[in-house]
Structures are given as structure tokens and as C-alpha cells.
Subunit: 282 residues, 2 copies
């Protein structure tokens, strides 16, 4: 059985950077915390916990130590709270997310109503939105965009993992309503490129394995687009979940992974699939 790994499987730039910063902070020792999971990988979070890094939901009861800001970013209020408490801040916010936050801040300071194209429940979006000082709307679909009020000056940014299609529809809807629109295309193409590669691979194999956290939106979406092309697609978090039955009659298996999936998990999965193949032959 041939195992083909997608070229862009796993960590994107921002996640890689955040993870490195977190492990470096953990290595230094001392009371170290993250506000929310550092990235959407329970296995990475667990490894950091093993090194003494605790995940907090709020800063309410924290008055001392190092706080690591996760790759998705946090709200401006949370960052201010950390500064006010004089915590040591390791800001691992993805630089692309940071840019979106800064654009929103500057847009609303210069008189623009702000539209954030994204999923209102996603922590990245909640962080970005918090930087608006005036009116701000989160729009997840064309239908929602159609319900936007008329605005004289509209500033638009996107959640970094949004599809271009979604951004496009929102921009056109605002354009139709007249006035001035100012758009910062803050979409990071890592997500789109990973999906396109996964789709090509899914077409060429008999089975697809998608590795990544069940709490990771981009992994879930990756599994969905693969399933459309290859119904024998399985999402897993770790190698332990692999089922030998999936590979019966399979000649080529494709492997890809979400943006928060570390290399070691990918390697374990590939090794385990190869081992299953040997067992099959024996």
C-alpha cells in the first residue's frame, strides 16, 4: 500500500510560531499559562500541560506569572487586563491575525463602520471584533451581508481562514449599498492552498486520512472537502484511532493534516499505517 502525504499537511506559519514560543516559555519554567488552548490541538496542549503550562479560561484569578497569548489572539480587553496585572506576556498571536486586529482598530478610529467576515463563535473573530471602537458587524454568509444596514464608510476585514467566496459576496453587498468601502484582504492563503492540495490528493487515492483536533474548524472543513471527493475519508486526532478495516482493498492512501497538527502526530500516523500494511501482508 502506497502512503502519499500532502505537501502542506500540518502546521501553518502562525501555528508553528505560536507553538515554538509556547515551548520556549515552558522551558524557561516558572508559573506559565495560556489563555484558552494555545492552538486547536489537544495533543500539543497536553504536552505543554506536562511541562507545567496550564490553560486558563479567564485571567480573573491570575495575578502573577507568564501568560501566553494563543495563535488565534484574544480580545483587547483581555490583553489590557494582562498588562494591568503586570503579567509577563508572551504574545503568540499569529501576525496575520494581529494585522486584522490592527486594521479594525484603525478603521473604527477613523470613522468607518466595521464588517468582519467570519464565524462569530470563533475565538479569532471574537478577538478581532474587540478592537473595534465603533459599530462592528460579524457576517458569516451572503444572506447575513444582505441584512447589513446602509453605511457611509465601511471597513471590511476577514477572519484569516475565510474562503475568498465569502469575502467577495460581502464586499459586493456593501458596494451595492453605495458610499465608500475599504477592504483589507486579510485572508491567509495557507488554508485555501492546503484544501486544494488535499482535494487533488483525494481524487487520486482509495482512502484519505485527515489528522487534526476535533475542535479545529480548518481540520473539520478539510475532512469535509475530502469526503466530497473520496467517501472513504476518516478524520482522526491520533494514530491510535486508525482502524485496519479502513485499508482493506486499498492500494493508495492519502494523508493530510490541519493547520494545528504537529509533525510528530503526522509521523506516528504514517508509521502506524505502514505497520498495519505489514500486518496485512503477514
Amino acid at each position: 500500500m502506497e502512503i502519499v502525504l500532502a505537501k502542506r499537511a500540518g502546521f501553518c506559519f502562525g501555528v508553528k510560531r505560536a507553538t515554538q514560543m509556547a515551548f520556549e516559555a515552558a522551558d524557561k519554567g516558572g508559573a506559565t499559562f495560556t489563555l484558552g488552548p494555545i492552538i486547536h490541538s489537544p495533543q500539543v496542549v497536553q504536552k505543554l500541560e506536562g511541562m507545567g503550562v496550564k490553560v486558563l479560561k479567564t485571567l480573573e484569578n491570575l495575578n502573577d506569572g507568564t501568560i501566553i497569548i494563543r495563535s488565534h489572539g484574544v480580545t483587547s480587553e483581555e490583553l489590557e487586563e494582562a498588562a494591568r496585572k503586570e503579567l509577563e506576556i508572551v504574545d503568540a498571536t499569529c501576525p496575520f491575525v494581529k494585522k486584522a486586529q490592527e486594521h479594525v482598530k484603525r478603521l473604527s478610529q477613523t470613522g468607518y463602520d466595521v464588517v468582519v467576515v467570519g464565524d462569530a463563535d470563533h475565538p479569532e473573530v471574537q478577538g478581532i471584533v474587540s478592537y473595534a471602537e465603533g459599530k462592528v458587524f460579524v457576517v458569516g454568509s451572503w444572506e447575513e451581508a444582505a441584512r447589513l444596514p446602509k453605511m457611509k464608510k465601511v471597513g471590511i476585514v476577514a477572519q484569516t481562514t475565510q474562503s475568498f467566496e465569502n469575502l467577495k459576496h460581502v464586499v459586493l453587498e456593501c458596494l451595492m449599498k453605495g458610499g465608500e468601502i475599504r477592504v483589507f484582504n486579510t485572508i491567509c492563503d495557507a488554508t485555501a492552498v492546503r484544501q486544494e492540495e488535499a482535494k487533488s490528493l483525494a481524487r487520486e487515492v482509495d482512502c484519505m486520512v485527515v489528522i487534526g483536533g476535533y475542535n479545529s474548524a480548518n481540520t473539520k472543513r478539510l475532512a469535509e472537502v475530502c469526503t466530497e471527493l473520496q467517501p472513504r475519508t476518516h478524520q482522526i486526532e491520533t494514530a491510535q484511532e486508525l482502524d485496519p478495516a479502513w485499508f482493506v482493498g486499498v492500494n493508495r492512501v492519502g494523508v493530510t493534516a490541519g493547520a494545528s497538527t504537529p509533525k510528530w502526530l503526522i509521523d506516528e500516523v504514517i508509521d502506524r499505517i505502514a505497520a498495519l500494511d505489514v500486518e496485512k501482508k503477514d
Copy 2:
């Protein structure tokens, strides 16, 4: 034979304003000139000529007198030349065109490359473009937009009579190329509203008469959209061009007129059609 006049036939806001300003200037007397035709109506231009207002192609040989700036606007260089020569300036530039000029100036002063969506040969566009102090591109179609280079900061405005479809395609093309885009939707909906009304009317009549200058782009387009729905569509400049043969077997005739067509020309056409009808009956 019933004659139905479209509600929005004739002068738009900017043309009405420019014509009034020109006639007022002519009434004052003295050496009075326009730079290019004041509006795209040979009949209005002729009337003004009868009052002593001459049309100039350039300011080269003019050193004294009053210069009326036409509704479509002129280039910034021409306006500066008029000021330098201390001519009396009556600026009849349509306020919507003026806004587009001002946006272009401010955009290029603040570091944006500028894209003007419009027809490069049209005097309005040539005027707008002249206000750019940096890079500027005129884009008339999606195909031309696709050939635009990648730009970090793009400012987009439109010729006031452009279709929204065209603006939309250019915006999406620039959005796809990434970076920041800032769009001022400078399209004046008078053109679109006039066209929509003419289309409704063309569907309900047996014959359409479209009145307006042969040098008027919006009149030409108006005749085109009517012809698509009613092949018995005729464009004329004056009542003298009406041909009785057009109305044989016609029960309802629709009349509309371009943005530069004065009311007196429309009235003459309606009177003449009514007279032809009486002759038919006699």
C-alpha cells in the same frame, strides 16, 4: 395613437445645473467660452452660440473673458491654465464628477495606485484621471482588469455613468490580487434608473423614440437597450428627423431622452408625433 413619455427622460441633475449656469453666464454678456461642448447636445450648444458663447478646443489662444467648464469636467491642467491666465471661471462640472476627481487626487496623495473604471476616450474620464498624482489605470472591462498589475494599495472610482456590473468586476479582480482596496462608488444612479424605465416602456409599446445627441454615450446606450426589447426603436436629435412611416400600425409610442436632452426638444418631438397622428386620421 397614445404617446407615453418616460418619467426620467432628459436632463439629469448635473446637466440641468451646467446648462443653467451657461445660460446665466451668456445672459451677462462679455466674451464667454466653453472648453469643449458644455453638454453633449448639439442643439443646446447651438443655442448658446446664438447668444455669443463660443466652444474652444483648448485655452491656448484665450487670454481674457469668461470660461465655462462643461458638466463632464476638464483636466486639472486645463483648470490651472485658466486660473493662471486669470480668466473668469464658471465651473459647471457636475458635482458627482467633481467628487470622483477629488477622490482620485486624495487617493494618490495618500499612497494609493488609482484605478478609474470607465471609457478612456470619454472626456469625463480624461478629466478624472488627470487628478492622479501617481500611478493611474483606466479599466473599461473585466478583461482589462485582469491585466492590472499587483498593487499593495488600490483606490478605485468609477465614471459616473458606468454600469455597476463593470465596477463589480474590477473590484473583485483587485480584491483577488490581495492587499488593500478602497472603493468610492461614484456611479450616479440617474443613468441606471433612466435605462430601467426605458426598458419597461419599450416592452409596453409598438415603437420607441429616443431623443439625444449622436455624440452622447448615454443616449446611444439608451437606444441600444430599447432596441433589444423593441426593434422599432429610433434615435433622433430633433423633431425634424421623425419619419411618418415609423408610426404605421402603431397604437402606443414610447418616448425617452438622454441626460443631455433639453425639455424643449422633447416637447417638440411629442407635438410632432401628435401632429403626424392627426394627419394620419385626416
